[in-house]
C-alpha cells in the first residue's frame, strides 16, 4: 500500500473554513469484477458478464442526471466509478438517488459493478491546484476507463459516456479501445432499438434544459438552510414531521404528523394543520418537512363538512372544528417522491397552455399530489392516456413542480390501465419471473417427476406413516402451506398436536435470485381479479404445496399437551417429511364435524367398512382439534384478545372478469379452529427464535392504539346507550361484547369496525430494535408473535423459517450456526416488508373498489333494483353523513345539502326530495329544516340510498350515494335487510383467517417479577456488562503482579441503560 495525502477544505460548524489533511491509501490489487479478468483479481460477488460487446463507464454528471436511463435493465456492463458514486453521495438533497444507486449495485439482476478507482494505484489521479471539481472528476473517470481497458488486456472495448463536450474532444483520440462519446451518441449507436431509453433520455434532457429558463418571479418562500432547520428543531422552535395532504381538499388542507417523542413542545399532542398551498411551500404528500407554528391567535380548525366533487374549493362559511395547531412549512428534510401516474388533459385544454413552449400541466391520479408540469412533444398523441412521471424539481419561482415522463400505460378507463395504475401508485413492481430465476428451480416433467431425496430422509423426521396429516383450506386452493395433525399418544395421558408448514426455504437458498425477487416482492399480491405470486408457480403450486397423497418436506412444530388440562409439556421443532392424507376444505370439514353425511373425495374408492373406519378416525381428529382450539381461544380471551370486524367484500367474477355477484361467505367455526392452531404455532416459534436470538429475531407486534382514536367509538356507543371502556384490550373486548342491540345486530358490527379502525396496524420488527415490553401483540393478547405459517406467500415467514433452522442447529451443534442477518439488516427488512404489506392491502382495496364501480357502471340507477340499497348511518358530518351499505360492503358519504344550498327533506311516506333550507348538526343526529318541516337522521338509523357511478377523467371512478328514503329499504323478494346484511358482511377472507385474527386484540405490558419489585429490566444492564468484562480475563491475579487498570468510561447519557423503568 502506498500512502498519499488528500487535502480537503471543509466548513466547520461555525462556518469557518478548515483545511483537513486525510490519508489516502493506494493499492495495486483492487478487484475489477469482470469475468474476463486476466490478472486474477479476487472477484467475489457480482461480476460483469464476459459475453458483452463492451463495457460502459459513465462519468459523474451522467450518473447524477441520467441515472434513470442507466437503471434500465437492458443496459448491461456498466462500471460505476467510485468518483461518480461519491459525487452522488456528497450531493446534498440527493440521498434518495444515492440509495437507488446503492440498490442498483446490490441488485444481481442488473449487470453493473462499482470500481474503486480512487484506491487503485495506477488509476488514481490527484486533484491539481486550481482544477475545478468537474474537470477533476472527468479526468478520474477517464483514467479509470483507461486502466480498465489495460487491465483486461484490451479484450473489451470501453465506452466512457459524458455530457461534457470538451471532454469528448480532449480524450476521444488519446487511447485506442477507449471511446469517449456523449450519452445521446451512445444510445443511438449501441441501442438503436431500445425505444424506452431514447424516450427517457429526451424527456430528462428536455426537463434539464427547461430548468435553466425559469421565470424569476417568486411564488414561494425559500426553504431555510439545513443547519438552521436542525438548530430550530433542537431548540423546539420548529416541528418536524411527515406531510399528509387531505385527499378531499388537496388544495387547502394538509397535516403534519409529529414524529416520535423528539418534539419538546409538550402541549403539542395533535397533528399540525397547514392551510393553503403557499403555506405548504412546495412540500408534496409524504415528504419529511419542518414546520413553524403560528401564534395561537392564528390557529384554525379543520373543516368537518363533506366535500362533493373534486377541485372546486369554497372557503368562508364552512363549518370548522376546534382550532388546532397551525403552521407553515419552512424547510424540507427528505423528499419522498415516487413514480406518479398522471393523465394528459384533452386537446382543448392543452392548446391554451401550449403557448408556453411544449410544457403541459398533467393531473396526477392521486388527489394528494399537485399538478405536474412536463415538457413533451407528444401531448396530442397522449391525450387521455395515463402516463408514469417523475418529479425532478420544484423551484421557488414555479407554481407547479417540474417532471418528466417515464412510460405510457394506456388509455384511461381501460381495465388493464387502471390495474397498472393501482400497482404503480402503490410502488408494486411485479415483472414476470426471469429466465435466470426459473433456471434455479428444480425441473419437473411428467417423465421425470420430483422425488424425495434419500439424503433428506435421513436428516428429517419421517412422519409419513406415524401421523395422520390433513389440510383445511378454502375450496380450490392451490398453495397449501399449512397442514395439521392431532392424536393421542400411547397411554392416553398425552395429546400430540402438530402444525406442519411447507418447507420453502429448502428450495429457495438465501441470496439466490428467486430469494431476492421474493424479498423485493415481500408478499403475494391479491387483486380482485388476479394475483401476483411471490414465488414461481413451480414452487407455490407444486413442490412447496402440501397436497394430499404426495410426499412433501415440511417444517413442523409438535406439542405434547396434557390430555386433560391441555397444558404444554414439551415442544419439538424441526424439519420433517410428511404425506398429507386429506385435503379438506372448510365446508367439508364443518360438515364432518356436525356429523352430516359428507363425501370425502379421498375415500370414495374404498369399501364401506374401511371407509367408515377412516372416516371415524378423521372425524375424531377434527373433534379433538376443535376441542384444543376452543381451549386456546378461551385462554387468549381471558388475556384480552379482541374480535373485530373488517368490511371487505369479495367480488365474484365470471370467466370474462365481469362481476356477477357479491357472494356471502358464512363464517364457520372451523375457520377459527384452523386460525387458532396457526396463531399457536406462530406464538411458539416466536418464543423459540426470540430466546435463541435475543437481538436478531423477526417478530410481529401490534402496538396499543392511542386513546384519542377511540373518541368516535365511545361517542357512537353512547348514542345507543352503551358504555365503552377502552382502557385495555380486555376492557374493550368486554364492552364490545355487551354492546349488542337485539333489534339490530349491525350496531355491534359497526362498533367493532370502528374499534378496528382506531387501531394501528400490526408490524414486523427485529427484536434488537425494540425493548422487550414493546413485543406485545395487542390484538392477539400474546407477549410474542411472529409469522411462520405461510411461507409460500409471505417473505417474513421465510425469514422466520431460516431463523428457526438456525436456532435448531444452534441447539444441536452447540454454536456452529448463527443467523445470517444482523439486527440492522433485519430491521431494514422488517420495514421493507411492512411497507410492501401496506401497499398490498391498499392495492387490494383499490382493485375491489374498482370492480365495485364496474359492477354499478352498466346499471341505470333510476331503473335497476340493484342500485337501491339499505344503508346504516355510522357517522355525522356538518352537511351530511357517512353510511355503510351492508349488502355490498360499501362505505360512503351521503349529502344532505347540495351546492345550490338545497337540503333533503322527507315527505310523509318517507321519500326524500331537495328543497331550499338549512342543516343543523348535533353530536348524534343531523336535521334539515325547510318550508315543509324538519326531518332528522340519527346515528345507526337505516335509510335507503341510490348508488350511482361518478365518472372522473383524472382520478379513479367513484360511487355516489343519494338518500331516497329515511325508511329501511324493503325489497319484495329479499328478507328483512338487516338479516340479509348480517349474512352479507364478509370478513376479509382473501387473506387467511389467521391473519385477520391477529389484527384484532390486546392487553397491557406484562412485567416480570424483578421489574415490578426493583424496577430492573432483564435487558443488558451495567451489571451484566461488568460481568462480561470480568469474563474477558482481566489479569487481576497474574503471577508477576502487574496492576491491571480497568477503566470503563461512559458518557452520561448511557446511564439510561441502567434502568428502563
Amino acid at each position: 500500500m502506498i500512502k498519499t495525502e488528500r487535502i480537503l477544505h471543509l466548513k466547520s460548524f461555525r462556518g469557518r473554513k478548515v483545511r483537513v489533511v486525510r490519508e489516502h491509501y493506494l493499492r495495486e490489487e483492487v478487484p475489477c469484477y469482470s469475468a474476463v479478468c486476466q490478472a486474477g483479481c479476487v472477484n467475489d460477488g457480482k461480476v460483469l458478464s464476459g459475453e458483452l460487446t463492451h463495457y460502459v463507464v459513465p462519468d459523474a454528471s451522467v450518473v447524477a442526471d441520467y441515472l434513470e436511463v442507466l437503471e434500465l435493465r437492458e443496459l448491461q456492463g456498466i462500471v460505476f466509478t467510485q468518483t461518480a458514486f461519491q459525487a452522488v453521495q456528497h450531493n446534498k438533497g440527493r440521498s434518495r438517488q444515492y440509495n437507488r444507486l446503492r440498490g442498483l449495485l446490490k441488485d444481481p439482476r442488473h449487470n453493473c459493478v462499482l470500481f474503486a478507482n480512487e484506491f487503485q494505484e495506477y488509476s488514481y489521479c490527484p486533484r491539481e491546484k486550481g482544477e475545478s471539481q468537474d474537470k477533476w472528476q472527468t479526468k478520474c473517470v477517464y483514467s479509470a476507463a483507461v486502466w480498465y481497458h489495460d487491465h483486461l488486456a484490451g479484450l473489451k472495448p470501453i465506452v466512457m459516456i459524458t455530457e461534457d463536450q470538451a471532454a469528448v474532444t480532449q480524450y476521444s483520440s488519446l487511447n485506442a479501445g477507449v471511446y469517449v462519446i456523449s450519452i445521446q451518441d451512445y444510445l443511438q449507436n449501441f441501442w438503436p432499438d431500445l425505444q424506452a431509453a431514447h424516450e427517457l433520455y429526451s424527456s430528462i434532457s428536455q426537463a434539464l434544459q427547461e430548468k435553466g429558463s425559469e421565470g424569476t418571479e417568486r411564488e414561494y418562500a425559500e426553504h431555510l438552510p439545513a443547519e438552521v432547520l436542525e438548530a430550530g428543531i433542537k431548540s423546539g422552535r420548529y416541528v418536524q414531521g411527515i406531510l399528509n395532504v387531505n385527499k378531499h381538499r388537496a388544495q387547502c388542507e394538509a397535516f403534519i404528523r409529529i414524529e416520535g417523542s423528539t418534539n419538546k413542545n409538550t402541549d403539542l399532542n395533535s397533528d399540525v394543520l397547514v392551510c393553503g398551498v403557499k403555506n405548504r411551500n412546495r412540500a408534496v404528500h409524504g415528504d419529511g418537512v419542518v414546520v413553524e407554528l403560528f401564534p395561537k391567535s392564528e390557529w384554525r380548525g379543520k373543516t368537518t363538512a363533506l366535500t362533493e366533487g373534486q377541485g372546486e374549493e369554497k372557503t368562508g362559511e364552512e363549518a370548522q372544528s376546534q382550532p388546532m395547531p397551525t403552521g407553515r412549512v419552512v424547510g424540507i428534510l427528505q423528499r419522498n417522491w415516487r413514480d406518479y401516474v398522471v393523465t394528459f388533459p384533452p386537446r382543448e385544454e392543452t392548446q391554451s397552455q401550449s403557448r408556453n413552449s411544449q410544457r403541459i400541466l398533467v393531473v396526477p391520479w392521486d388527489q394528494c399530489i399537485p399538478k405536474i408540469r412536463i415538457s413533451t412533444q407528444q401531448a396530442d398523441a397522449l391525450q387521455d392516456h395515463r402516463v408514469v412521471v417523475r418529479i425532478d424539481s420544484w423551484e421557488s419561482t414555479s407554481l407547479y413542480p417540474n417532471g418528466h415522463s417515464v412510460r405510457v400505460l394506456g388509455r384511461a378507463g381501460e381495465l388493464e390501465t387502471e390495474i397498472q395504475t393501482i400497482l404503480i401508485e402503490n410502488c408494486i413492481h411485479v415483472p414476470p419471473f426471469s429466465e435466470a430465476q426459473l433456471r434455479e428451480m428444480p425441473v419437473i416433467s411428467p417423465e421425470k417427476p420430483w422425488r424425495v431425496d434419500p439424503g433428506q430422509v435421513v436428516v428429517r423426521r419421517d412422519l409419513r406413516d406415524t401421523h395422520l396429516v390433513f389440510s383445511i383450506d378454502p375450496r380450490g386452493c392451490e398453495d397449501v402451506d399449512d397442514t395439521l395433525s392431532v392424536h393421542t399418544l400411547p397411554g392416553g395421558e398425552v395429546l400430540e398436536l402438530g402444525v406442519h408448514i411447507a418447507d420453502v426455504t429448502h428450495f429457495v437458498a438465501e441470496g439466490s435470485l428467486t430469494d431476492l425477487e421474493a424479498r423485493a416482492r415481500a408478499t403475494t399480491y391479491y387483486l380482485a381479479d388476479r394475483r401476483y405470486d411471490m414465488l414461481p408457480a413451480v414452487l407455490s403450486a407444486n413442490l412447496c404445496s402440501l397436497l394430499g397423497g404426495v410426499d412433501r418436506y415440511a417444517m413442523s412444530v409438535l406439542w405434547e399437551l396434557d390430555a386433560r388440562t391441555l397444558a404444554v409439556k414439551k415442544v419439538w421443532y424441526g424439519r420433517t417429511l410428511i404425506r398429507s392424507s386429506y385435503q379438506l376444505h372448510y365446508e367439508l370439514a364443518q360438515a364432518l364435524l356436525k356429523g352430516e353425511n359428507a363425501e370425502v373425495p379421498e375415500l370414495t374408492q374404498l369399501g364401506t367398512e374401511e371407509k367408515d373406519a377412516k372416516l371415524a378416525q378423521l372425524t375424531q381428529a377434527l373433534e379433538m382439534l376443535t376441542h384444543v382450539a376452543r381451549h386456546l381461544r378461551a385462554k387468549r380471551d381471558r388475556e384480552g384478545a379482541l374480535e373485530l370486524e373488517g368490511v371487505e367484500v369479495r367480488a365474484q367474477l365470471d370467466e370474462e372478469k365481469n362481476i356477477t355477484a357479491l357472494v356471502p361467505r358464512q363464517p364457520l367455526e372451523i375457520h377459527e379452529t384452523v386460525a387458532e392452531c396457526m396463531i399457536y404455532a406462530n406464538h411458539w416459534v416466536a418464543r423459540k427464535i426470540q430466546e435463541s436470538f435475543p437481538q436478531q429475531a423477526l417478530l410481529r407486534h401490534h402496538p396499543p392504539p392511542r386513546q384519542e382514536f377511540f373518541c368516535q367509538l365511545v361517542d357512537s356507543a353512547k348514542a345507543r346507550g352503551f358504555f365503552c371502556s377502552t382502557r385495555s384490550n380486555k376492557a374493550l373486548a368486554d364492552s364490545l361484547e355487551q354492546a349488542v342491540d337485539p333489534q339490530d345486530p349491525l350496531v355491534n358490527k359497526l362498533l367493532r369496525v370502528m374499534a378496528t379502525q382506531a387501531m394501528s396496524n400490526a408490524l414486523y420488527f427485529s427484536t434488537g430494535a425494540c425493548s422487550q415490553d414493546q413485543y406485545y401483540h395487542y390484538g392477539l393478547a400474546l407477549d410474542r408473535y411472529t409469522h411462520f405459517t405461510s411461507p409460500i406467500r409471505r417473505y417474513a415467514d421465510m425469514v422466520v423459517h431460516r431463523l428457526l433452522t438456525a436456532a435448531i442447529n444452534l441447539e444441536n451443534a452447540a454454536g456452529h450456526s448463527k443467523p445470517s442477518a444482523s439486527n440492522k439488516e433485519l430491521e431494514e427488512m422488517a420495514q421493507h416488508i411492512n411497507n410492501k404489506n401496506r401497499a398490498a392491502q391498499q392495492a387490494q382495496r383499490l382493485s375491489t373498489e374498482l370492480f365495485q364501480c364496474l359492477y354499478f357502471k352498466d346499471k341505470d340507477p333510476q331503473v335497476d333494483q340493484c342500485c337501491v340499497a339499505d344503508a346504516v348511518i355510522y357517522a355525522i358530518r356538518a352537511n351530511g353523513m357517512l353510511v355503510f351499505i351492508p349488502q355490498y360492503g360499501l362505505k360512503g358519504a351521503v349529502y344532505l345539502r347540495n351546492r345550490e344550498g338545497q337540503v333533503v327533506t322527507v315527505g310523509q311516506d318517507g321519500s326524500c326530495e331537495w328543497q331550499s333550507g338549512s342543516v343543523q348538526r348535533y353530536p348524534e343526529r343531523i336535521s334539515t329544516t325547510c318550508s315543509r318541516g324538519t326531518s332528522t337522521f340519527s346515528l345507526f338509523d337505516h335509510i335507503t340510498v341510490r348508488i350511482s357511478v361518478q365518472a372522473s377523467r383524472y382520478h379513479s371512478v367513484s360511487l355516489h350515494m343519494e338518500v331516497i328514503s329515511n325508511k329501511p329499504h324493503q325489497n319484495a323478494e329479499q328478507q328483512p335487510p338487516q338479516l340479509q346484511g348480517r349474512s352479507q358482511l364478509v370478513q376479509e377472507v382473501v387473506r387467511l383467517a389467521e391473519e385477520q385474527a391477529h389484527d384484532k386484540a390486546a392487553r397491557g405490558p406484562k412485567f416480570s417479577k424483578e421489574e415490578r419489585e426493583f424496577c430492573q429490566s432483564k435487558s443488558p444492564n451495567l451489571y451484566s456488562l461488568l460481568e462480561e468484562v470480568r469474563e474477558l480475563a482481566l489479569i487481576e491475579q497474574s503471577p508477576c503482579g502487574g496492576t491491571a487498570v480497568k477503566s470503563l468510561q461512559y458518557r452520561p447519557y448511557s446511564a439510561g441503560m441502567l434502568s428502563t423503568c
Binding site: 478548515v18 490519508e23 489516502h24 491509501y25 446490490k106 462499482l114 474503486a116 440492522k824 489479569i1035 468510561q1049
Partner: protein, 231 residues
Amino acid sequence: MAGLELLSDQGYRLDGRKATELRKVQARMGVFSQADGSAYIEQGNTKALAVVYGPHEVRGSRSRTLHDRAVINCQYSMATFSTAERKRRPHGDRKSAEMSLHLKQTFEAAVMTQLYPRSQIDIYVKILQSDGGNYSVCVNAATLAVIDAGIPMRDYVCACTVGFVDETPLADLCYAEEGGGGSSLALALLPRGGQIALLQMDAMTACKGVSKVLDEVVRQHLQDVSVLTRE
C-alpha cells in the same frame, strides 16, 4: 448531512483501507542524545515524540518517594499546531491530565519499578500531529523511548484502537472515524503474556459486541503492532 459512510459496501474505509488494515507505521529510536531515551513514531498522520529521563532521584517534593519501587511521572501534551484548528492550550487541560494519568497507569504496569526504589522515571510525550488514536500512538512511542533508555520492562506495551461500525470492527481509527459517532475502544497490551494493561471504551450506544471486538481484532492485531514496534 447524514454522517459519513465509514465503511463502504465494498468494504473500504474512508482512506482506502480495509476494515482490519492498520495505518502505515514508521518509527525511529534515539532521536535526541540529551535525554536518556527518546523515540519518534508515525501512525498514518498521527505523529508523536516521546522522551524518557531517568531513573534518577526523586525531584520536587521528597514525600512522593516510594521506598520499594520507582515513581513514574508522565506528561502528555499536544502541540498547538497538531490539529486542524490551532489549539489554545498545549497542556494542562482536563483531557491532557486524563491522558497523562492513563499513561502513568499503563507504564506502572509494564516497567519493573521495584528494581529502582526511591527513584523516579519521567516519560514526556508530545503529539506533533493528531489524526486519531492519540493514546495508542503515545503508548507505542513511550515504549520505544523506554526501550531506548534501557529500563527493564516485563514486556513491551503495545496499544491500538478499534471501532465498531455496522457490526464490523475497524482497526486503528483515524480522526474522521473516531468522530463518526460509533463506539471506540483503546487497548494497551503486554502481548507476550496476553495481558491487558489498559482498556478504555467510549461509546454512545450500548456496547453489546465488546467481546467480539476484543477477540477478533484487538488481540490479533496488537501482535502486528508489537512486531512493528520491536523493529
